[in-house]
Symmetry: C2
Subunit: 348 residues, 2 copies
């Protein structure tokens, strides 16, 4: 009898855990209709109880710096693309985030970076994947969009292209940070018995270690009413086999159309790819006339239902914003056309 | 005056050329509601006037062989995934098509292959990109889907994974064919003055040389009502910088959902990525209640409007098929549950 009760409690706790991971946090934002730039610095186990005031301050400052860099472009009358790129560059250069300088390590001890950018006006897009020597992958994504006839370039070829474009090239060791290196060592130690070829055993829906989080992204609306979206990431700690996540996949992690919204996602990339998450938000707006917030919630609900987790930021042409997620928290910030900044970290 | 008339005629001819390239061919198919497998072998300048009866026969036989290989699985009660994989393997092994053995060459004289597969029932997916030693990339895509926790693996990592899975590994020179090598030499000779970094000058909407065509794909419906889609390609002749096209991008070149349809695209990949073409077809069915044929036409019309060209095959859960394209022709074939085969090559 006691054993039955224990089993019941364990099962209930397990189900609550799933439910907690799946419920969508989507607050009412104070400046609807006024937003010009939203950014995220990744979703994951971001709990107030685990945060020190010092750490929280550092994150808030980093988000604010990125937001201000992007906002300066908007205020200056420059295109949304410029604002997205400026905000992401700041986050790429800050080791706090899993993008650029702070990229996580692959199983092989490398830093392989991905980024994408899309122009909502022309619906042109550019992306790079698996690059190891480009200081700011978001710059490379933009160069692919504007200076090649392609959308997606990979590996050494993408690096060669970036070099030809005159972008800043660094040695791979530029991306070494002690914290990320220790993160890889921990991830390797934590690996569960392998049931699939070279992969961890993982119960769908039970949540996933934060190995894959910290991706950064930005969506912007400029004075001409044009939207743009961008995403940059170091991918998943301990990733193998040249894994590509959703960030550089147009339609999955990044999408923008002036008809609907600019979207940047973060989270368990495989689920965002299979759900074609960023474009699904756009399709729900275009084909079902859903407002951006409702569409964002619907997409994250689908991600949760299929066993995945993460979040997204989305901005429509009228300055309405959505920042839903189903993880414990998501680093996210928004600024209105009057320069009013709001920063959120947790799910409250 | 004569010069003005000449200019007018030239302009008219140019506009007709654009119009011809943009108009969608989408015939009424005789076995609607009965189809179980559709395949394509690429879209492009496939003109009756340029085809010899010998060459036409070879293509028809190749398409029929692929169709029969896939149909055998369906008839045997096996999953749609098996049928898709079997049909694509046959085309990958045939040097006629730009996939597997017949893959085109990159600018650097390599054969870099991409493939993707998606299960409409589970909406799981797998893809590989930039692989040079995997005999049948479609097998690798399926292994990624079923034997890893990832969706998309690239380059050497993907090859290492395929090897660990016991797939057939070949030397890169296995993919050498004299015809494709000569195709690369021609493409290099044909290059227009470079205006972008290392790329050809290209007027949008004027049509594109057939350097990027010949991709193969299959969509199937099994006895349990499950759909699946797959695509495999050698990419674009003379491609550079590790370019990734739409084929391995879930939502762009490949998508399947039992709720809507299984889709495989072929054509100018960049436009299919930016239009999130395969998933857009699904979204039009799901959110706008469009029949598969209407949705297929809408997607190819959008591709054309944005300056791209190509085609797609799509099959819904009720055995209704769509095979629209806006190029001069598309190698395509279909089989009904009773084994009735239809093969089309041209736009009539």
């Amino acid at each position: 009898m006691k054993r039955a009760r224990l089993c019941f409690l364990l099962a209930a706790s397990f189900l609550c855990h799933i439910a907690a991971g799946q419920s969508v946090t989507s607050q009412q934002l104070p400046g609807q209709g006024q937003y010009v730039l939203l950014i995220h610095g990744g979703a994951g186990t971001i709990l107030r109880s685990k945060m020190t005031s010092g750490k929280e301050k550092v994150y808030r400052e980093a988000l604010e710096a990125a937001l201000k860099a992007g906002y300066a472009k908007i205020k200056d009358g420059q295109p949304a693309l410029e604002a997205v790129q400026a905000a992401i560059r700041i986050m790429e250069d800050n080791p706090l985030f899993n993008a650029g300088k702070g990229a996580v390590f692959t199983h092989g001890g490398r830093n392989e970076l991905d980024a994408a950018i899309m122009d909502g006006n022309t619906r042109k897009a550019g992306a790079v994947t698996g690059v190891t020597t480009i200081k700011n992958p978001i710059d490379a994504a933009r160069a692919v969009m504007e200076r090649s006839e392609h959308v997606m370039l990979s590996g050494k070829g993408a690096e060669q292209f970036a070099k030809q474009c005159g972008l800043t090239i660094v040695r791979p060791k530029y991306f070494y940070t002690e914290e990320r290196w220790q993160g890889l060592q921990k991830a390797i130690r934590d690996e569960a018995p392998k049931t699939k070829v070279g992969h961890r055993q993982q119960q769908p829906g039970t949540g996933f270690p934060d190995y894959k989080f910290g991706t950064v992204g930005a969506v912007a609306l400029d004075r001409n009413g044009n939207l743009a979206a961008g995403t940059s990431t170091g991918g998943m700690t301990n990733k193998r086999f040249g894994r590509i996540g959703d960030s550089p996949v147009i339609g999955a992690g990044t999408y923008a159309s002036n008809k609907t919204a600019a979207v940047s996602c973060t989270g368990w990339g495989e689920y965002f790819i299979r759900n074609v998450a960023a474009y699904d938000l756009s399709a729900l707006m275009e084909y079902k006339s859903m407002p951006v917030k409702e569409a964002g919630d619907a997409v994250i609900t689908k991600i949760g239902s299929s066993g995945g987790n993460g979040g997204l930021i989305a901005l429509d042409r009228n300055g309405n914003a959505a920042m839903p997620f189903n993880t414990a928290g998501m680093y996210r910030a928004a600024i209105t056309k009057d320069g009013k900044i709001t920063i959120f970290l947790y799910n409250d």
